[in-house]
């Protein structure tokens, strides 16, 4: 199989799962086996066929068709997209295992629809990762929005419907009003929307217009959850936890920041932004989002809500990395896509395991629970360390590079922001662990002292796996760095 055809295959492969799911819908075990089979084979194609080519410096390309003159559906894999596709397809497998445990343990209904929409969303994420131009990226970006809407509204309650409205309203609204506009503008100015190393806008858009165009891209990508377009993310927490874990910590939100990063590197070009200072304002917006969202997270007692605000804050790390417009900054941003994915998915997995195993959703109820659920809380600790950015977790490296990027750009304030944010994240994540392990269980808790009482095995193993993955990444940061240097000429 040539790498080019593998690229096309990877994009449509998750849709193959739908066929299996529909055929096997009568038997839940076989149905989930279908999803897993697709997941493993997808990861095999991405990691086994495409990755070696890209690592060797290749850029496999597949032109599908030209929809309008100069606007074609095409895929081309470069390092950043490679990385995102690896993360999305790899964690899809883990999440599917987790979903089996969670959805059954939590007695959720409409599971067939759940798995189908999930598969479409993954196809969308792979499409975004491999898109060769803004148009293709936009198509798959919208596909993600539409396919995750039924997942957000899964419960069908009034609250879920309201959340769904906000979800669709903000994500679709910003993408049509701003992102589409930015795309048309780019096309008119540059005559193309192809992602090109070094960018396509140099000399074509200048001055204030450059800033406006960047703003249209940054805010048009609602999935990046830049303030003030962040409200959809906490609202989306009404979805089942596997959705919050994979989609609202990894696939959907990372598709957003990935878009920002990719546009900065391949449409604007970091040299253009660095010389014109057109992205200086964006560093401030990102910094504000980082700090403000962390502060909000401190005030949330609901565990998933706290994690959601933490995600908003962490996403802006990546936007900040892009806005710094330095080599280390964009590499740090790219790396943070991976590191944060592993850290945050662990935390969400744990939150779901606590919900299934102990039926607790509020942080103030977690006292003493760590002794009964040591694996869950242990994984939560590791995940927290990664998000905070402490060794021996992978998260420390991405933060390191972001700091380096801020130093290169001589933006000392941004270094302070990053440090302050680390402190804040200690403030909102550690209490969970401390309460679990060190506080005594409340007196009226008659389960206390009953010994080990974890959630079903399939709810506990995945977070342990991803937490360990966070440690492994600490030792393989060098490989990530070498891969990512390929994106800046």
């Amino acid at each position: 199989m040539s790498a080019a055809s593998a690229v096309g295959l990877a994009v449509v492969w998750p849709l193959f799962a739908i066929v299996l799911i529909v055929i096997l819908r009568k038997s839940p075990n076989l149905r989930e086996a279908g999803t897993l089979l697709t997941g493993f084979s997808l990861f095999g194609v991405v990691a086994g066929v495409i990755l070696p080519v890209v690592t060797a410096g290749g850029r496999p390309r597949l032109d599908v068709l030209e929809v309008l003159p100069g606007l074609s559906l095409a895929f081309e894999v470069e390092p950043l997209g490679m990385l995102f596709a690896m993360v999305a397809s790899g964690l899809w497998i883990v999440t599917t295992f987790y979903a089996i445990g969670y959805m059954r343990g939590h007695h959720e209904s409409n599971q067939t629809r759940f798995y189908i929409c999930f598969a479409i969303a993954i196809s969308g994420a792979i499409g975004v990762a491999f898109a060769a131009n803004v148009f293709t990226l936009f198509v798959f970006y919208e596909l993600i929005t539409l396919s995750t809407y039924p997942l957000v509204t899964h419960a069908g309650t009034e609250k879920a419907k309201k959340a769904g409205r906000m979800y669709l309203g903000i994500l679709m609204g910003t993408s049509i009003a701003f992102l589409l506009f930015a795309m048309v503008w780019t096309w008119l100015a540059a005559g193309t929307t192809e992602f090109t190393p070094g960018g396509i806008l140099a000399g074509k858009v200048t001055g204030v217009e450059l800033m406006v165009l960047l703003a249209l891209y940054a805010f048009g990508t609602g999935k990046a959850a830049l303030m003030p377009f962040h409200r959809w993310l906490p609202a989306a927490m009404v979805a089942p936890t596997p959705v919050s874990a994979l989609l609202h910590a990894v696939a959907v939100v990372k598709a957003g920041v990935f878009t920002v990063l990719k546009v900065v590197v391949y449409v604007f070009g970091i040299d253009l932004l660095a010389t014109t200072d057109a992205s200086r304002w964006l560093t401030w917006v990102a910094a504000f989002t980082i700090i403000a969202a962390s502060c909000v997270a401190l005030t949330k007692d609901n565990l998933k809500a706290r994690l959601a605000y933490s995600t908003i804050s962490q996403l802006s790390y990546i936007v900040l990395g892009a806005a710094l417009a330095t080599t280390a900054g964009v590499i740090g941003g790219g790396m943070h896509i991976v590191m944060h994915a592993f850290g945050k998915i662990t935390l969400f997995f744990c939150a779901g395991a606590i919900m299934v195993g102990a039926h607790k959703t509020e942080i103030s109820e977690l006292d003493g629970l760590g002794r009964r659920m040591p694996f869950t809380f242990g994984a939560f600790l590791l995940g927290s360390l990664s998000v905070i950015g402490l060794p021996p977790m992978g998260g420390s490296w991405s933060k390191w590079f972001l700091m380096l990027g801020a130093a290169e750009a001589e933006q000392w304030v941004m270094m302070l922001v990053l440090m302050a944010s680390s402190l804040l994240s200690i403030g909102y994540l550690m209490p969970v662990v401390v309460r679990g392990f060190f506080r005594a269980a409340p007196a009226d808790d008659h389960h206390a002292g009953e010994g080990l009482h974890e959630a079903p095995l399939l709810c506990v193993l995945p977070p342990v796996f991803t937490a360990v993955g966070g440690i492994v990444l600490f030792f393989f940061a060098d490989d990530l760095w070498r891969l990512l240097t390929g994106m800046v000429p």
Binding site: L146, T153, K161, L168, V184, L188
Partner: protein
Amino acid sequence: MMDALWNLIGDDLAALQIAMPLLTATVCILVRRPMLAWGVAMFNAWGAVVNASILLHRVLTTGTISYAEGGWPVPWGIELRIDLLNALVLLVVTCICAVVLTAAPRALAAEVPEDKHYLFYAAYLLCMTGLAGMTVTGDAFNIFVFLEISSLASYALISQGPSPRALTSALQYLMMGTIGGTFILLGIGMLYMVTGTLNIVDMANQLGAVGPNRTVLVGMAFICVGAGIKLAVFPLHVWLPNAYTYAPAVVTAFLAATATKVAYYVLVRFIYSIFQVNFAFEVNRLDAVLIPVGIAAMFVGSLVAIFQDDLKRMLAYSSVAQIGYMVLGLGLANEHGLTGGLVHVFNHALMKCGLFLVLACLLVRVGSTKLAAFAGLGRRMPLTFAAFVLGGLSLIGVPMTVGFVSKWYLVLGALDAGMWPVAVLILLSSLLAVIYIWRVVEVGYFRTAADDAPEVSEAPFSMLLPTWVLIGATVVFGVWTSLSVGVASAAARMLLGGAS
């Protein structure tokens, strides 16, 4: 045998577009048996599609077709003239006629007494005669004649609706439509006064020689307002929501995708072919009227649509908004903008006709088009409802659907004209479509049907197929655009080049 037949009619295809439906309409009245009348109409309608495809192919390969009726030389005799512009419109009109007619028998059974079916088919064919006639003719006065034929037939069609309000709606449309027709006639009369000819090409040439002239200006005003009424451009749209709501569902599907589209064609033909860009836009600044009116229509139509409880009325107001897009494209008067307007004729016909057919399916099964009737439809009629969702996405302008293609060109056109606020408004107005479509999607998927609701099954195949043909086409032509965009942009270049 085929060769002989071909030699006989090969050159008369344009004339057959008018003669065939006129003839078969009378046949329908003679045969009286509903299914037989339907068969005759189907034969004619699908024949017209083949005919229109051949005509478009010929125009693309050999250029404009001119046909002298009765052998009288142009410009003294009446000319049928087919160029890229009306070849495209003709294809849209005939395809819609044929597809809607395919779905008609089952849909009519729910709304019109069976003994009137043959008359219905006859009126339908007469309406088709008028629409095809307006499209193919090269004679300004003929446009008026065929306009009246199609209008009279459509009043009859609308009044067939089951509700008594169908009659008042038809009457309202009759009055508005007659005023519109009269205005067009007055305008044509004034042009005739100045040029002494009724042939469109000849008239355009003569006008070029006349120079600035108040009679011509007044004529243009009359024609624009008259065509505007038939096109239902805001604020001349008041007849449209009632007519669409109370007409039988198939009639709505048919009219929404053809009557307004042909009226749009007439407006484009007069402005670009007869008055031409220089007179209309540079001397008289018609764009200063058309662009604000188009934008107002986009917003008013969509905003009102959000608050409708009857889905037929909601889609009717959505049509008012979509007509706004077309008028905007017309007013931008540059290649991208006009391409957007013209391609939207094609695209909007597909999606709106498909959506109205979904409502026809709903009427047959659930018996209502109120929002509440959609409760639980995602489970009860999954295929029908999926068609609605897909058509709705197209209306919003999601990429890979036809709606995106239209919007892309309109935004490009606005930016080309240096009017970036207009581009912003186009995009903002599509957000309103998200709201009115998603209200329905929510009800369909999340509200469960009332316990006493009758058990319903999927719509009959004979209606589901045409619906999905159209909805499928909104995706196909959203990805494969060389036919729709190719012809529309070539037509736009031709119109802007001044040649007709």
